[in-house]
Amino acid sequence: MSDQLQNLDLPYFAIFLTFFLAVLSSLLVLAPTQRGISATWDYLKQVKFIERNGIVVSTYIVIAVSLWVVVMIVAPQFFMVELSFHDGTVAADVNYDYSQTPYTFNNYSYVIFGSGSDDSYFNVLHLKVFLRTIIASVCITLLAFVLCYPIAYYMAQTAKGGTVRLLLICLVLPFWVNEILRAFAFRILFGSSGVINSVLIGSGIMDEPFDFIKADIAMYAGLSYAYILLMIFPIYNAIESLDHNQIEAARDLGSSWSRIHYRVVMPYAKPGIASGCTMVFMLTAGALAAPQILGGPSSLWFTQIITNWFNLGDWTRGSAYAFLFLLSCIVFVLTVMKYFKVNLGELAK
């Protein structure tokens, strides 16, 4: 018995424990009142959740949701974080089981201070990429908002039903094209023999083709293009439910257009704007394809660095980078939302 217990490895055991706890706690939470558990079956039958859904459906719901929440959402994140505290530098062998190594903060200190053998005190290279990722994502999000707000407003309040449907279809259409192909289109556009260079040279503005890819312009353009739709729809949904009379009333009271938008429409559409901005920011910051296809040979985007660690075989460091990245994005989004007084619950559309 004790042998068996010893053989039961931590992750394996943890899964079962969490699973069991999830089932038990969900039942307890759903129970209308606390009753004795002496007669388990009777107790189960009296649980409101089971009473309402029946045994079969209840079992299906509990298993499916626990599987998703525990095995697919929570546990992988947990073990990724756990792995990031192990030392990946000890073994060169790819098949080495890092969970044997002791816990350490090495991977996290590496993000900030580097290996220590560099010239500079800080890990300038990675920190620069990190800051670039965040700042560029913010700029791209703002740009997307500025570009999309007028369209969303026009569709929601001004345009007629038929026009709106047509516009919606036209908006959705480019986004049915694979993300990779969209980035590829920008590569064609900005390539050294691409359309923009051809036009610029053809019109005599330039003599030599300009390397947009090396100048990172292609990447930023591609990233701003990639997720723009996700800005339009939440804002459109939010503005659509605004009573047009409110705008008329504001106009009737002598309010200027800018004031109407600033004081009436935007406050009303705040949840939609927040949800659009959050989505665009997170997706842009987390983008991998566009930087890979449109960026030069060096890593420009933080996700590329994370990927590199995995390609190099150091999963612990990659996990640390991934976790740090996720954490900073979440903290950033929450801070901004707190500043603009947006309730998290409102985000869900």
């Binding site: 931590l10 394996y12 079969v56 697919m72 073990f79 359309v195 051809s198 987390g286 996700t303």
Partner: protein, 295 residues
């Protein structure tokens, strides 16, 4: 009056520019598919050719990727639609105090970067594999298994949102009516709830498949061996020298256009049918009530 007119034209101009921005790059890419130069070039347009489509059709990695994508897509449907449904059904039933926590957890995969979902899935199953002493043939390391599970992590959340919005329109008294007429809970679920959710199940499946088909960020980590169409495309696009990719884009846009057109025609016809039926029903009902009233 004139200022209104100017404003109107400005709005139109803006919309036109916006759509030019949306479609311009794609249209240019499309033209390169029909142009002869080996490096994808739109201008100057030298000579029309369908050569790149034949190249595409003979490209093994693309065809193989397509097969893998289909396989993974079907797997994702099978996993994420039932999970999304269960999660949506549970939403209205969890305790009021737990609901925000539950909601945050199940929506979180939508905001988690795909890269991180891919990494965590990989790490987790690797951990289980090694802790069990399995070698790399075990299913914990199977690229299809990992990709399906990884993608389903967030695709399930999309499905859940679809089911939630459909469930919002569900009339709870229908459930009670069925119970009252003697139906068991399972019968209520099967005969009332599922038929009501059927359209949502359809759209969830379509969305799940498309999202899976499109996905790159998660798949690039979980597809440890072999490639899906999207990852195959990505490695080609990074080299960026082949107009057969443009040809593929043309094929995809073409299929999309046809699909959207059919969907729109179908939808319009349904709407008109509904309107006609409602009209007829109204008239018939009116007549029936009138005939009945003097009894």
């Amino acid at each position: 009056m004139t200022s209104d007119l100017i404003q109107k034209y400005m709005v139109r101009f803006y919309i036109a520019m916006f759509f030019l921005y949306l479609f311009g790059p794609l249209i240019l890419m499309g033209t390169t598919a029909f142009n002869t130069p080996k490096f994808p070039t739109a201008i100057p347009f030298k000579e029309g050719t369908l050569e790149w489509f034949t190249v595409l059709a003979n490209d093994k990695t693309i065809i193989e990727g397509l097969q893998n994508s289909l396989l993974v897509g079907i797997g994702v449907i099978c996993l994420s639609v039932p999970i999304g449904l269960a999660a949506a059904l549970l939403m209205s039933q969890v305790h009021r105090k737990v609901q925000p926590i539950y909601y945050t957890i199940v929506v979180s995969p939508l905001l988690t970067p795909g890269v991180i979902i891919g990494i965590s899935t990989l790490v987790f199953w690797d951990k289980i594999g090694t802790s069990q002493g399995q070698d790399f043939d075990a299913f914990y390391y199977n690229p299809y298994f990992l990709t399906i599970v990884g993608q389903s992590t967030f695709v399930s959340a999309y499905c859940m949102l679809i089911f939630l919005s459909r469930l919002q329109r569900f009339d709870r008294t229908l459930e009670e009516a069925a119970l009252d007429l003697g139906a068991s809970n399972v019968q209520v679920f099967k005969k009332i709830m599922l038929p009501f959710l059927k359209p949502a199940i359809g759209s969830a499946a379509v969305l799940a498949f498309l999202t899976s088909f499109e996905n790159y960020n998660t798949t690039v980590f979980t597809m440890t061996e072999g490639k899906t169409l999207t990852t195959a495309l990505a490695s080609k696009a990074r080299l960026g020298t082949d107009p057969s990719l443009s040809a593929l884009a043309v094929v995809i846009v073409g299929i999309t256009l046809v699909g959207v057109t059919f969907h729109e025609i179908y939808r319009r016809r349904e709407v008109r049918k509904d309107e006609l039926a409602a009209e007829a029903a109204k008239r018939a009902a009116h007549a029936a009530d009138k005939a009945m009233a003097p009894v």
